[in-house]
Point group: C2
Chain length 507, copies 2
């Protein structure tokens, strides 16, 4: 076979530091790999190869020697040089990989289907999603980060971009410990702080270090479902406490005695989804009860800095003299999710054990994010930013509340939260929230139906609306579309539609 | 009690958008929280508070009302206003949290103690560590990243800094899929690619989706121990294949029939620690065997771009027509570890299942790193960088090799690897590598003793030296110190020292 046609266009770079024989070898390898030169192709003798590329005979010999060592060609004595059979030829008769049989069992979370359906809702310019709990990208202080990057990139210690300790970039741990010291009577040192790749990672690692199949965990109901999914995945039994009224201490105490749960997961401040704040007196009562029973409290606190009236009471962690509270913080709601940085404050034995687990998961979190965040906190840019977003989100909360009052009237009930991202609404009509969602998406607005926040019952009359992501105008338009959808049910015979959806399996 | 002394210095900001009553409330809250105003302290009547801060009576009333709602003060009718008992006072009599009893069992990896000892070696300016497998920070192309950040920060789509898909930033997945397409005959689409928070995370997630306690896994011996630790943590049985000679196909086939292992973990190119390259013919034979037995091959490939002679043969993934190879790549060795970005190329069902698991672990990897890396790859800056570091690391490899020949003579044997970061050496003297390490650290040089790479036997005569991290001068000095340590054993009676260390529990 005349292989010269494959290389007519090829130019060797005689000025390159790479030897000519390596350059030729790479050209031939590429042709063999892409099957331009299939197995069995006879290659020219060394002398012809040399003249084809205008190189010395030695170069041609070296080229073939390399290719032969790689197993890409073979020399048959007395016959010539051939492209070797490098494809695993027995394979075509093998069975395909049975991936789904090879996977370990995946505990399907009961709410996955709801969330999947929601996520699969086609997003378009027209659709207004009030579902995701995301800050408005317009408020991301990326320009501040960009300036900090520019200002500090020449003075960075390059060692800080290598492997750092699993617990986090030391200056950032220090800064976060100092922030906590300002708020609490208990001392917080960097040894009490672990940087996480988002607070979600904290929940995951806590489930790894504390939970074994068969353990019990207490959560509020409704609550943030991402936490429940992680606990569920650990194979534990979930016990629930109603979260829509004052704190049910006697029920919790009953659980503590009867089931000895491993931990209690709570969002005490601007709860997701219901926006409630656990009053100080109940915080203290809860801490007393936890200490008496040596119950671990996992305090998830994404929203406490996002208050729109007076500041909320001190965190459980700040009030905890027993050191049994494990605090999770995040910058995903206050700054932007793409930083992927959250943190944990806890007793040192917990931080140490978390690090042993985290090193398997990702060795440590992104140094770039940690370095930038440290610079940001150092400049006290966080406070400035918070003052600004509090003002904006407050306007949006009020705008959404007013729109609902104006357009939905008596159909939708809610109480105004004093912070956070959400209005937690109750339908006062016949229609259920899954049915409403189904129709609302057709009208260009979406939300999270309340059932997505429950594991223990099927509440079909609640829904969560996020007021943080969109401008006041867009919120008004979104609520108008919701109101239009709601009123369309008033004019219909609700019977068949309801039963149609009510018969699908509900959690 | 006259509380006025606590607030003499306090200045209210009358121009602030924050109401005066909130400002006063915050001042008093701070004093209560830090116990300057302990529980039971009588607070001045509203009228006095008003005059203390020169505010209206209404402001004073609002202040107290807020503090009372927070539970920080209480009003006793007919008596006055007091700081409430806000500390959980039952706590002092509670038992401390029994953290170590609450943790789930931690499977201690047999090599942890060696690595811990190594890491705990005091680092100083003087000490030269040849232990860590780290690129030289001097070569980190951070200036290129910094320029890319500056050039592109104004045109970034802020939505890309929000939550993105768990599988990764779409343009980066696309770029990496395209890089793989260039090297393989199998098509690679973005659906075959998942971005990871370092390739370590890939190992972790693979252990989650494939391994259950009691399963078997095959690894080479010696091998990268970070992988073995993850598998060990999953509760599996580890089967080993000797990696210091040609590939033992009949032993692997015996394992496949006898134990039906779930997967085979291999670093086929510039193996860690021994630097070997699996020849093309053995790659093909391995793929045939794997396809016949539907064995999953996990190909860990951190070093293949770091070649110092001819390029290595194509990856197992590139040769695999059966789609049973799961490929792990990383930028930690070629660029810098602090990016925390690795990637997986695999059949789409694997990528999908990995995403379900990864969303629990960290939702998705850092957007900042992914965005920057995508820009870097787009500019084709990677090839330029690789050409440069290959040249530098080759010089270092040769410098270290020459230093060893010059200073250690017949005491230390090795073969020159054609890529990667390490010289894998054999001691030709009486001393064992743990004993040598113990003495070497006193002389200001450290390395990883060979036993750290074995799970199945105790080879005390090997050691791994990393030539990537230090300059040629420093490598020469490090090897001189090692040679000095080695020769000190020649002059000693080695008996007692050896037995002293040989009696400690070995793996």
């Amino acid at each position: 076979m005349d292989i010269s046609k494959h290389f007519l266009q090829s130019q060797l770079d005689h000025k390159s530091s790479k030897s000519l024989y390596l350059q030729i070898q790479e050209l031939i390898t590429a042709k063999i790999m892409n099957h331009s030169l299939p197995p069995g192709t006879k290659l020219p003798p060394e002398r012809e190869l040399a003249s084809l590329f205008s190189v010395s005979r030695t170069t041609a010999i070296n080229t073939y020697r390399q290719l032969e060592q790689q197993g890409l060609i073979q020399t048959k004595v007395g016959s010539g040089t051939y492209v070797a059979d490098h494809s695993p030829n027995a394979l075509n008769t093998s069975l395909p990989m049975p991936w789904h049989q090879l996977f370990s069992p995946y505990p399907q979370s009961p709410v996955s289907s709801i969330l999947r359906e929601l996520v699969s809702t086609p997003t378009s310019e027209y659709n207004i999603s009030l579902a995701a709990g995301m800050p408005d990208p317009k408020f991301y202080p990326f320009d501040v980060f960009s300036n900090l990057f520019q200002k500090n990139s020449s003075s960075i210690d390059l060692n800080d971009l290598g492997h750092i300790s699993t617990e986090g970039y030391a200056p950032l741990r220090q800064t976060i410990a100092a922030l906590h010291c300002n708020k609490t009577t208990m001392p917080t040192t960097p040894d009490n702080v672990s940087i996480l790749s988002g607070s979600q990672q904290g929940l995951y690692l806590l489930s790894k270090i504390f939970l074994q199949p068969g353990d019990c965990v207490v959560v509020q109901s409704p609550t943030y479902i991402g936490a429940v999914q992680v606990f569920h995945n650990a194979g534990v039994r979930i016990l629930t406490l109603p979260a829509n009224s004052s704190f049910p201490f006697s029920l919790l105490e009953d659980y503590l005695i009867r089931y000895r749960p491993k931990l209690f997961y709570i969002v005490p401040t601007f709860q997701n989804p219901n926006g409630r704040v656990l009053p100080l007196s109940e915080r203290q009562e809860l801490l007393r009860l936890a200490a008496r029973h040596q119950l671990i409290i996992v305090e998830d606190d994404p929203y406490s800095e996002l208050y729109y009236n007076e500041p909320p009471p001190p965190s459980l962690k700040a009030l905890d003299n027993h050191d049994g509270v494990i605090y999770l913080g995040t910058f995903s709601k206050t700054l932007f999710p793409g930083l992927r940085i959250g943190w944990m404050v806890a007793a040192t034995p917990v931080i140490n054990r978390i690090a042993l687990e985290k090193q398997y998961v990702d060795l440590h979190s992104s140094n770039l994010s940690q370095w930038l965040l440290h610079l940001f906190l150092q400049e006290e840019a966080l406070q400035t930013h918070l003052v600004n977003v509090r003002k904006e989100y407050k306007k949006r909360r009020d705008a959404m509340a007013n729109s609902i009052r104006r357009h939905c009237g008596a159909n939708l009930d809610f109480s105004l939260p004093s912070g956070g991202f959400y209005l937690w609404c109750k339908l006062q009509t016949e229609v259920t929230s899954p049915v409403l969602l189904h129709e609302a998406t057709k009208n260009g607005v979406s939300f999270v139906p309340g059932e997505a926040f429950y594991t223990d019952q099927s509440n079909l009359k609640e829904l969560r609306l996020c007021f943080a992501t969109h401008s006041e105008d867009k919120l008004e338009e979104g609520i108008k579309r919701l109101a239009k959808t709601l009123s369309s049910f008033d004019q219909q015979h609700p019977g068949p539609i309801k039963s149609n959806f009510a018969t699908r399996p509900m959690i």
